[in-house]
């Protein structure tokens, strides 16, 4: 069975990932990407990839899952940024 510490980690993962979803949804719906900085996106995605590797190295499933999902969302924002930049 999963231990209570892991459960807390999963709760944390769900909460911080959920808080990030409106940004992705709003960008997708409005196609407005002026407010998204490409530099910021690169820094953010690099950070998430480091967290992902760190999660594997310390064997933390919540960190792996949280950053796996968020890095996909980060790449999605990057895709929107490139795709909608000329609108």
């Amino acid at each position: 069975m999963t231990n209570p510490i892991e459960i807390l980690g999963f709760v944390a993962a769900v909460l911080t990932t959920t808080a990030f979803l409106p940004q992705v949804y709003t960008t997708w719906k409005t196609k407005s990407v002026e407010g998204l900085s490409l530099t910021m996106l690169f820094i953010f995605i690099s950070g998430l990839l480091c967290w992902l590797v760190y999660g594997f190295l310390i064997d933390s499933v919540p960190i792996i899952l949280a950053n796996f999902v968020t890095v996909i969302l980060g790449f999605l924002l990057l895709f929107f940024k490139i795709r909608y930049k000329n609108r």
Copy 2:
């Protein structure tokens, strides 16, 4: 000496925290908080607090530091949201 895994964690912490700073700076400068959802801020701060406790429980200094700094920034955004909502 700090081990390579911890260093990777610190790099991750610096990168994701740095990526969050422009949001705080822009909100502070523009005093524009319409785009900030109070519900999202509560979910985000709750998530960060869970990560903070999780960091202590699994003894991960990078997770503790990253979420300690980010939770302060989160509370700062919450303060801006409440302070500037009537502008």
